[in-house]
Symmetry: none
Subunit: 258 residues, 2 copies
């Protein structure tokens, strides 16, 4: 559920809380979606410190002072929480216990959270915040026939955009979510690249200002289009809700169909 802007704030919150604290143990409470045995994971974390936390697409990357690093993907319903060690947090997948300073909880009602020790980062797509007009155009050329909304949602192409922000971006760029990539002219690709950056950066800044410190959930109430509570866009057009690319999509007639 959380997308790039939410996850960016989670990372900033996590840095405040867990950086440079000694880990005394990693305890899995459910059989995890983990690429190595959980006992190995535990021994790689024990007595180590997290020295850096970053985000790549929808994944959060924790770097240890050993040089190892592990990624956490929250999937649909995952989140973080902080509490004293031993506190009962519902749907806990993993706890990292720190010496004298409580614990970090990774929670997920669905149990889908994915954790990878030393993931192959070369495979990762370009992050939403790093998309350039040139990258967008060359990706368009490779995916002529795909729907633009499906394109933005494809984590192999751009990392971090989910259903909500794909609608925000397409509205900002005035492109209909029903458009086919191949039909979009070069100057509109420029505009889209600009909209991706603008929408995401604005959201990050809004969240940093108003929701600093969050570790889970998603803030959607300030969105312009992908928002069940609003009936018209900021420019006064009625919001249309429709299933596009198998996703609930919000858009308006302002957006041009290519």
């Amino acid at each position: 559920m959380p997308e790039l802007p939410d996850l960016t704030i989670f990372v900033e919150s996590l840095r405040e809380i867990v950086l440079n604290r000694e880990i005394v143990g990693a305890v899995f409470h459910k059989k995890p979606r983990l690429n190595i045995p959980s006992s190995t994971f535990n021994s790689m974390l024990k007595d180590r410190k997290i020295i850096e936390i970053t985000r790549i697409g929808k994944e959060i990357l924790f770097s240890l002072d050993s040089g190892d690093r592990f990624s956490v993907h929250l999937m649909l319903s995952g989140g973080f929480a902080v509490a004293r060690e031993g506190k009962e947090i519902p749907f806990t997948i993993l706890t990292l216990n720190f010496r004298d300073t409580g614990s970090l909880f990774v929670t997920d009602p669905k149990g889908w959270v994915k954790i990878n020790m030393n993931p192959d980062l070369d495979e990762r797509a370009v992050d939403g915040l790093d998309v350039t007009s040139e990258y967008l155009q060359s990706s368009f050329d490779k995916k002529q026939r795909i729907n633009i909304k499906a394109f933005l949602l494809d984590q192999q192409i751009i990392g971090g955009i989910g259903n909500a922000y794909s609608d925000e971006i397409l509205w900002h760029a005035k492109i209909s979510p029903k458009s086919i990539v191949g039909g979009i002219p070069a100057e509109v690709v420029d505009r889209l690249a600009h909209s991706i950056k603008t929408v995401l950066i604005n959201a990050v800044e809004y969240l940093r200002k108003n929701h600093s410190g969050i570790l889970s959930g998603e803030v959607r109430s300030f969105l312009s289009i992908h928002n069940p509570k609003i009936k018209t866009s900021p420019t006064g057009y009625p919001v249309i809700v429709e299933q596009i690319a198998s996703k609930k999509t919000y858009y308006t007639e302002e957006q041009i169909l290519y």
Copy 2:
């Protein structure tokens, strides 16, 4: 709010009152949750008789002499009432007016009542009274990771059980409502199948004896566990009240956690 046992008695009461009486009109007082236009509904009922009333899960099915049949789901707060035609019954959704013999009212303060003309009955799950140990086991196998209370409440799996009776059944079977389906051994599945039948049949028999004729509401005062008035179970254990599977849940330490 009414569950399988209450609804079973409603059906028995309704049969006494409306069977084989000629309908002169069906009047909707609120925009209904109806799968066809209300004018069509009205013309399908006019001059017809209800020749059979049955219950399937939480729905009540009225069969007409035309071969058509419609279902009524009372949702959270719906109910029936009988009065002379034209009587003002609060929160009336629908009245069926009978020739010379008054009217049947479907009421609902929340307005959520769902009415379906010729519903597809093939989609309906096994009714709570028809659950076998074999059916339960095969459903368990498909839903390994789900919580047992959520399982019993899932109308796609078993029809008719709501929040109150799920607690009664789990207490009777001595299974903790926090259990995960996958952890419950085969012999306990047998016990649960038996408890489902026993608890529901006993409730129906109690209601038939003591509350025959009811058309709305719910009788909860005789329940063993799901009952705010009691402090200890019949076997003397203190009743614990807790939010489980997003529902207010009553249980005791007698119940084993799997």
